[in-house]
């Protein structure tokens, strides 16, 4: 496929790796934000092609992973209600709650459906006016325009049966949380290419300036990642900080203006808890008053108990780049993708799950 295959050429990736080896003189720790990038780095062995001086740590950019356990329990409670059709993306349905995951609700007779797009859920709500078609909205800024578009469509169609359980998270506040920790090891960031496709780069300029750190907006294919790593290391070796764009075929500094406009109509920032990290101020989206009537959290009054995470799990340190999955005593033993104890093991894009799948033990 055009714009995919050519960026997976091993020869090109190795060529860039060679130029990185000629460039690096000191030890550097870099963090990629996005779980999709973590997955690609390990799948294609990019971590193994880098000089020993370069350490990659993996950020909190797996929205499925950082969705609090309590919210999953709440989703399960809503999905078990009569008259509810519960919809979400496939990976969200597999995440274990305290007792059940959403697919087990389906196995017990609940109406739980995997959808490709939130618009599919809108169509379902239109077709079945007698049922509440709930959509569990998770994701970063990349996914938010799709939820906003679905809500706008539902508003224009006058739908009264399309409640949305919103668990949207935002990247820049999480980066700030990581950088402001005194223990922070990260010297350069690969910013998430698709988040910036939507939002552009203006939110990252003040972060790069305040922490004097290079931030390179990077794509998702192996060659994109290797070039993004090279650009970050080149900036570090030359003592430069600031924002650069590797993924310029999709990202412009201004981002997607029509998408940003609709996001501002539908969502407003709010404090949000991140599984494994805790509450990060203004790191999530909630609905604006105009769209509040679509809020599933308000429509369904469900009680949930605060779920406790197992003490052995060091998810918080891993998600902030302070530890690697293999530093955890439970990794690969009590904690596996089949039976995850904490956030980075729950989805294939979590750092622990990626290390487990690609044998980095």
């Amino acid at each position: 496929m055009k714009f995919v295959d050519e960026y997976r050429s091993e020869g090109s990736v190795r060529k860039v790796a060679g130029s990185i080896r000629a460039l690096v003189t000191r030890p550097w720790t870099l963090m990629e934000i996005c779980g999709g990038q973590t997955h690609t780095l390990l799948k294609y062995g990019i971590d193994r092609m880098l000089p020993e001086l370069v350490t990659l740590v993996h950020g909190p950019g797996c929205p499925v992973c950082v969705t609090p356990l309590e919210l999953i329990d709440r989703a399960v409670a809503i999905a078990r209600r009569p008259g509810v059709t519960f919809t979400s993306f496939g990976d969200m349905l597999r995440v274990p709650g305290s007792e059940l995951d959403l697919l087990s609700v389906k196995a017990r007779g609940g109406d739980v459906r995997m959808v490709y797009s939130p618009l599919d859920a809108v169509r379902l709500a239109e077709k079945e006016p007698g049922r509440q078609v709930v959509f569990f909205a998770v994701g970063f800024e990349t996914t938010a325009p799709a939820i906003a578009g679905a809500l706008l469509a539902a508003e224009r169609l006058g739908l009264a049966n399309f409640p949305v359980l919103v668990s949207h998270v935002l990247v820049p506040p999480a980066m700030e949380a990581i950088l402001s920790s005194p223990a922070c090891l990260v010297k350069g960031f690969l910013a998430a290419g698709h988040v910036c496709t939507v939002m552009g780069t203006h939110e990252y300029e003040p972060i790069a300036a305040r922490y004097r750190i290079p931030i390179v907006v990077t794509g998702f294919e192996p060659l994109d990642l290797m070039v993004g790593i090279r650009m970050t290391l080149a900036a570090l070796e030359e003592g430069r900080h600031g924002v650069e764009i590797q993924y310029s075929r999709c990202v412009s500094p201004g981002g997607n203006i029509p998408a940003q406009k609709l996001l501002a109509e539908v969502f407003t920032p709010c404090d949000r808890p991140w599984r494994g990290i805790g509450v990060i101020p203004r790191s999530g989206y909630t609905l604006t008053p105009r769209f509040e009537r679509f809020d599933a959290a308000k429509r369904f009054d469900v009680e949930t108990v605060t779920a406790e995470e197992p003490r052995v799990c060091i998810a918080g340190s891993i998600l902030q780049g302070l530890a690697k999955p293999r530093d955890c005593a439970a990794f690969g033993r009590e904690c596996t993708p089949e039976k995850p104890l904490g956030a980075p093991m729950v989805s294939s894009e979590g750092a622990c799950a990626a290390y487990y799948s690609y044998g980095r033990e």
Partner: protein, 88 residues
Amino acid sequence: MCLGVPGQVVRIDESPVGMTMGVVSFGGVTKEICLAYVPEAQVGDYVLVHVGFAISKIDEAHANEIWEALETMGELAGEESPTKADAS
């Protein structure tokens, strides 16, 4: 989660709710996609699609920059220090 797939616009339609929809081909497999966020996209253009919405028109000129950069890097790759794979 933030997976984006490049595809080629093959048709553009107006939707009844005022959001531009269209058909995008992913290596021959076609899908109905919302094009409301890429008003500049024309039939034949490549767009980046995420969960049923095109979020960017792919810029071919920028896409070619990487190949020019690779040429220069080939000349730079000289002496090699040990990699993690050598160590493990």
